[in-house]
Amino acid sequence: MITIANTQVWVHDQDEALAFYTQKLGMEVRSDVTVPELGNFRWLTVGLAAQPDISIVLMAIPGPPVMDKETAAQVRQLMGKGFAGTLFLTTEDCQASYEELKGRGVEFTEAPEQRPYGIDAGFRDPSGNSFRLTQVTELSSG
């Protein structure tokens, strides 16, 4: 059986990302390891308590020789423009989660909105990665 273990997002500052994902989104730190032999590469992962087997890797954009300067600049630019990808979260109560996260300082780009599939809202992390927060409506089969 194949399962999803980690999914990775680029971040422009790992400390800032760590503070956002833990203090504002309420995630827990899964690993935070800096490896001197790898040029102080920092393996930093966070996750939701409800899903101990799925983590998000908060990956710093590397420099040469891992990634050439031009490519790193392109990744940084794409991320800053908000086109680096989306994480889709679900919740049992979108309005309540929206209020909770907003209370912790998360800036939403879309307030909860009724959609045919449920209620959802949108926000970004400090790097520009977008998030959906969706309360899925059970669809009747048939």
Binding site: H12, G80, T109, E110, G128
Partner: protein
């Protein structure tokens, strides 16, 4: 603290348009969100996203108006106000220019989106935002861009 890409500040401005389209915000408010002077902001926004902030804000409002036309029975005047525009005449003109139909014709031509597909709201917003169009104003467009 690592270097924050300048585009991230411009994205704040675009997010402001997406989040507050219903309020009377202007390009100057978007510039403030990006922490840039209005002239510098418009130039950098256009360079980064390929269109002017004024155009982005207007097409976001028209996209939201189109969604309200499809999914509610609110009047055209109500919808104009609900997307942050004040003149129903200008709204109708801009709407017809982008969508080839007046708001009333557009509503009549579209079954509710919910009948068609269950696509995420962010996809609707991204893909239903109209391409900017002008007519008889092409030669003046450069002067109109803010």
């Amino acid at each position: 603290m690592q270097f924050v890409p300048p585009a991230r500040h411009l994205l704040n401005a675009r997010d402001l348009a997406d989040a507050r389209y219903f309020a009377p915000i202007r390009v100057a408010d978007m510039a403030r969100a990006a922490r840039l002077s209005p002239a510098h902001f418009s130039r950098e926004f256009r360079r980064t996203f390929g269109e002017s902030p004024h155009r982005y804000l207007l097409t976001r409002r028209l996209e939201r108006a189109a969604a309200l036309l499809r999914t509610t029975d609110r009047s055209v005047a109500d919808i104009c106000c609900m997307v942050g525009l004040t003149s129903v005449g200008s709204f109708t003109t801009s709407f017809r220019r982008m969508f080839d139909r007046t708001p009333t014709e557009y509503r009549a031509a579209h079954p509710p989106a919910s009948d068609l597909a269950l696509v995420p709201a962010c996809v609707v917003r991204a893909y239903a935002r109209p391409e900017h169009r002008t007519f008889r104003e092409d030669s003046r467009e450069g002067a109109l861009v803010r």
